[in-house]
């Protein structure tokens, strides 16, 4: 796996952690990966349109399936939301948390591929203004 993918995996883990913490605080029952995708959907749809977002998420899901085959039961609904996310909630041994990281990292990775890490970070910042991502990004840039 190349360095940029490692960076996106790191971002994905951090975003999932932020959402997990937020979920604990609010007592919500939606998986953090779903919440990450929903938040990205808002800023990405505004920028790229709903078609733009769903096509990227569809591709991210396909790539994530290659890494974590158990994700094959997850489907993308026409409105851009994920269906069958129960698989994300299963234990580590069944690929649960790794699956969440894979989807998120590939979605971010696609953005990085197309528009570069700096602009991807700016888009992510629209949804998570205080997520701890910059330090890692700067380190990789430097």
């Amino acid at each position: 796996m190349d360095m940029s993918s490692a960076l996106m995996r790191d971002w994905a883990r951090r975003l999932l952690a932020v959402e997990a913490a937020s979920q604990s605080a609010t007592g919500a029952h939606v998986h953090e990966a779903v919440r990450v995708c929903e938040k990205l959907q808002i800023s990405l749809t505004r920028f790229a349109g709903s078609d733009g977002f769903t096509s990227l998420l569809r591709r991210a899901l396909a790539l994530a399936c290659s890494d974590v085959p158990s994700l094959q039961i997850v489907k993308l609904k026409p409105d851009g939301s994920l269906e069958g996310c129960e698989v994300l909630a299963v234990s580590v041994t069944n690929g649960g948390p790794e699956a969440a990281v894979a989807i998120t990292a590939h979605l971010l990775g696609l953005l990085e591929t197309f528009i570069g890490a700096p602009l991807t970070l700016k888009l992510v910042r629209e949804a998570w203004s205080d997520a701890p991502l910059d330090e890692q990004h700067s380190r990789n840039r430097g």
């Binding site: 920028f47 790229a48 709903s50 078609d51 990227l56 602009l119 700016k122």
Partner: protein, 526 residues
């Protein structure tokens, strides 16, 4: 206008609302627009796909957007925004920092597909009001218009455009609608009627060359430069080459011919009545091998030996724009005549402009020369040669060659630059042409070099054909190209038909025609 009328005009001018002009971020375009983009104007950027519309809009937003007055870039079913950003960030004007809020991309595709014009208008207005946008771009507006014409009618479309223009102006936004339009669509188009500014970009293919041109078809509130202006797209974005060559602000007080410039060849100076009048354009026409370039070298070198000029060490800075040989070849050639110009190249008193052949636009070439003239304070310019210059141009520009050259020479000589242009003429022995390009009207002065067959030898002859506002010798002098440059001999006497190139001995004085005084001078040409 009477004095009273002028004063009235001045007083009225005091009361006029000032229109602030925004920079376009495109080199040369502010000059074409008459200073910049009128603030709060409602503009259309039109042209065929690939003509540079989106890049132009991006340059404008990057030049103007701030976090306080951001630019909103609405995308509508055109180039996908992700790909647009992917490509546009390759340009050097793309500034990452501005993507932090100064520039915002908003996708309107779904609203356009699913809803009516009213919803599109509402969406744009809502975003503009919320962001206090200073610049608004809709790319492409053509999609919106097409949808509107398919579902409602022209009146509704015009109403929509009118409402959009009113709202955006009220919110103090300068607006650009981008659209793919072809030439015939400009007439009776409701969108164009409402627009304050209409910028038309073209991309034409002429034989194997691509030629890009821009026209400001209309611009309310200020005087733009009319006509088609060449532009190029590089990694820095668009660069335009105004037909005015960046010289619209120059108010030169130069008076032509106030002094004479030595050519570096004393006898030639004498023939020309003391040298080339400063600010004149001298055309040196002659066949291949006649020494035209050598004369140019001597003219430049003479300026670099001066001590009272504005250049380093009192030199008169010079430029050689060459189209036929490379700079190092020029330097070698100059050295072979005893002129070591390396120091001058180093200290900036000499600049060699080698313009790579093929696909050049004449205005682009002229811009390069004009910029160099401004940069070094050039007093002497050699263009070697006009034939090479024309050959280096894209075919589409060759028709504009004489007109552009005329404008350039006029602009530069008004600044006090003295120009020596060489032109090769095909030698024949039935007539004496001045130039195959009928460009002699560009010259204040014309020096003709030619071959003549005399006593079994091919001799070189030189004659001043024309000097505007100045007396000159009417002698035809023999000359040679020596290791030190042109060596001019005595006037050729005792021959008839020297201009034919096949002279004969002057045998009989025509009856009743008095002989010309041997020291007669040519009258100034007007």
């Amino acid at each position: 206008m009477s004095t009273e009328g002028k004063d009235q005009g001045k007083d009225q001018g005091k009361d006029r609302v000032p229109i602030r002009q925004l920079p376009t971020g495109v080199p040369g375009l502010d000059e074409i627009l008459g200073g910049g983009l009128p603030e709060y104007s409602f503009n259309i950027i039109a042209g065929a796909p690939g003509s540079g519309k989106t890049t132009l809009a991006h340059q404008i937003i990057f030049a103007n957007a701030t976090p306080e007055r951001p630019a909103l870039y609405f995308t509508v079913l055109g180039e996908p925004p992700i790909k647009m950003l992917r490509y546009q960030q390759q340009f050097t004007f793309f500034d990452d920092a501005k993507m932090d809020g100064a520039i915002r991309f908003i996708n309107l595709s779904q609203i356009v597909l699913d809803k009516d014009l009213g919803a599109v208008l509402d969406a744009i207005i809502k975003e503009v009001e919320a962001s206090k946008a200073g610049i608004v771009v809709v790319d492409t507006f053509r999609t919106v218009a097409r949808k509107a014409l398919n579902t409602v009618g022209e009146m509704e479309l015009q109403g929509f455009v009118q409402s959009l223009a009113i709202h955006l102006a009220s919110w103090q936004a300068t607006t650009f609608l981008i659209g793919e339009y072809v030439d015939g669509e400009v007439r009776d188009n409701p969108v164009f009627t409402v627009a304050d500014g209409l910028f038309w970009l073209q991309q034409n293919i002429a034989r194997n060359s691509i030629v890009r041109k821009m026209q400001v078809i209309k611009l309310r509130g200020q005087e733009s430069v009319p006509g088609l202006h060449t532009f190029r797209i590089t990694d820095a974005g668009l660069q335009t080459f105004p037909r005015t060559f960046g010289l619209t602000d120059n108010k030169s007080e130069h008076v032509k011919g106030r002094r004479r410039l030595s050519t570096g060849i004393p006898k030639l100076d004498a023939i020309m009545g003391g040298g080339i009048p400063e600010g004149d354009s001298l055309l040196v026409a002659g066949p291949s091998g006649a020494g035209k370039t050598v004369l140019g070298i001597q003219f430049i070198a003479e300026g670099l030996h001066q001590t009272g000029g504005p250049g380093p060490g009192g030199t008169e800075p010079g430029i050689v724009a060459m189209f036929e040989e490379l700079p190092n070849e020029f330097m070698q050639r100059a050295a072979s005549f005893g002129y070591d110009l390396k120091k001058n190249l180093k200290d900036g008193s000499l600049k060699l402009i080698y313009l790579r052949p093929l696909d050049l636009s004449v205005d682009e070439t002229v811009h390069e020369i004009v910029n160099a003239v401004k940069e070094i304070g050039c007093k002497r310019l050699v263009i070697d040669s006009l034939v090479g210059f024309e050959m280096a141009l894209a075919p589409d520009f060759r028709t504009d060659f004489r007109e552009s050259l005329y404008r350039m020479i006029g602009a530069l000589t008004r600044l006090g630059v003295t120009i020596v242009s060489t032109v090769e003429v095909e030698e024949n022995f039935t007539s004496m042409g001045l130039s195959n390009f009928t460009i002699s009207f560009l010259a204040d002065d014309i020096l003709r070099l030619r071959y003549a067959s005399i006593n079994g030898q091919l001799r070189k002859l030189m004659m001043v054909v024309k000097m505007r506002r100045s007396k000159h010798s009417i002698d035809m002098c023999a000359y040679e190209v020596t290791s030190k440059g042109l060596a001019i001999g005595e006037p050729m006497r005792g021959y008839r038909a020297l201009t034919s190139g096949i002279p004969g001995p002057w045998l009989v004085q025509s009856a009743g025609v008095p002989p010309l005084h041997p020291e007669a001078e040519g009258e100034p040409n007007e």
